[in-house]
Amino acid sequence: MDEGYVNVEKYKKMVRDISPKSKIYKDCIFAFVVGGTISLIGEIIEYVLLTLGADITVVGSYTTIILIFLGVLFTGIGLYKKLGKYAGAGSIVPITGFANAVASSAMEFKKEGIIVGIGSKMFILAGPVIVYGIISSIIVGGIYYLVVGIL
């Protein structure tokens, strides 16, 4: 742009002033309520499983698997994105959000086939979470081992 039309720093300030900001309080409340509700559903599933006589050592895994299934199911029938539009982090952070990220990618790239489509693109969004989840768990595990070993 020709010198004189607008100065870069001045323009960046103009952009900050004019661009609408997210409604942070409303978004936080929605995220809290939806995220809390998903967690509450998890608690209910766990309680029901325990009542039905599930072993306490595996009930957490059963609950996780059921929540993942529900996340995938609601993604498949097109409801999870509608929830996500209002809930934001409230529906992204729980494990159902992870399931949504994997299932939506699998659906999106189905047309490119089961190898280069679904196979390679399924973890396009969830991949980094897995990679850095494993790396950080190794680091934390190492620290735990050392701390426990010293004590």
């Binding site: 004019i18 994105k81 539009k85 934001g88």
Partner: protein
């Protein structure tokens, strides 16, 4: 033709816009300017099994419609100049192949329709052909998967984001003198934009990235032709949306050009901000293409508007450039259309 000022051309021959076609998706069909569109799709897939094939079908249908409305046959078209947003412009190439006409594919992101109109006019004024088909397309579902996230991902779109228009706008332009006195709009002047990059790197605020390019081209156009501020009835940018329009207008005002009353943006016109949840407005190649070939062209033919400065705007980013932390280079091409 004659080169004028820094970046402009004035045409010596009359370049008529003989006919246009505008095909849009159902969301655009629910918008405020829906009555101007030729075809409103009920099925976004057009019966195809992938979104990319759907976009190509859209392009093909629109091209055929424009040629038919111009009263021509495929053989009458000397060149097809068109493009879209997809990698290697597959939306256009697969759509144009059945026409069997000489084809020049162009890429100017969402400014593609302005680029096509400009290049077509230059060829016609230079005597390189008589009838040229120009067009540009975009599809919400192909653009989302290429530039953003899977359709079913549950995330929130920022308030500065825009909504990619599904559609194709095409026009048959001609230098044949038989169209004289037929009441057709004519392409008189163009100002080709240069790339402007003000360091904006947020792909969810493309109006802000493109506004300086639009302002640059508008100011250059007015200065190259030494135009009076009242010269045009309508000045309309491509897909800056609400934020970008305001930023552009601010830059124009700071540089002493007050066209606030006659200046709007296709992205603002095509959707209803309050009811359609499109945030900043429409975007994509089709945003300016269908707003022009639908609303503006028809209003001009009816004599409701006589002089229009049409400035499709493009954000020349790619997913790779954004991931590598680069800012968004932008461009805007002005085309002056008069009765």
């Amino acid at each position: 033709m004659k080169h004028v000022g820094k970046q402009s051309i004035i045409f010596e021959n009359k370049i008529y816009i003989v006919a246009t076609s505008s095909i849009v998706g159902n969301k655009e069909g629910d918008g405020p300017i829906s009555k101007y569109f030729d075809v409103i799709l009920k099925d976004m897939s057009l019966g195809e099994n992938s979104w990319e094939k759907a976009e190509s079908k859209l392009v093909e249908e629109s091209f055929k419609l424009a040629i038919k409305k111009a009263g021509m046959k495929n053989e009458d078209i000397d060149y097809v100049i068109a493009g879209d947003l997809l990698n290697q412009s597959i939306g256009t190439t697969y759509g144009v192949k059945s026409l069997g006409r000489p084809f020049l594919g162009v890429y100017g992101a969402c400014s593609t329709f302005g680029e096509s109109l400009s290049l077509g006019s230059i060829i016609l004024d230079g005597g390189g052909g008589e009838n040229i088909l120009v067009g540009a397309s975009s599809h919400f579902c192909t653009a989302e998967r290429q530039f953003r996230t899977p359709l079913e991902l549950g995330n929130q779109r920022p308030l500065t984001a825009s909504w990619t228009v599904t559609g194709d706008g095409s026009a048959v332009i001609s230098s044949n003198n038989k169209y004289e006195n037929k009441g057709l709009p004519k392409i008189k002047k163009i100002t080709t934009g240069k790339i402007v990059d003000m360091g904006i790197n947020d792909p969810n605020n493309m109006g802000a990235a493109m506004a300086p390019a639009a302002a640059d081209t508008i100011l250059t156009h007015f200065s190259d032709f030494e135009l009076n501020v009242n010269y045009y009835d309508l000045v309309i940018t491509g897909d800056l949306g609400h934020v970008g329009r305001q930023l552009t207008n601010n830059i124009l005002l700071e540089n002493g050009l007050d066209i606030s009353d006659i200046y709007t943006d296709c992205g603002i016109e095509i959707f209803d901000k309050k009811t359609q949840d499109t945030h900043c407005g429409g975007s994509g190649c089709a945003c300016s293409a269908v707003t022009f070939t639908g609303m503006i062209y028809k209003k001009m033919c009816k004599g409701e508007i006589l002089k229009v400065l049409f400035i499709p705007t493009g954000a020349l980013l790619s997913s790779t450039s954004i991931q590598q932390g680069q800012s968004i280079p932008s461009i805007a091409h002005a085309v002056a259309i008069e009765m």
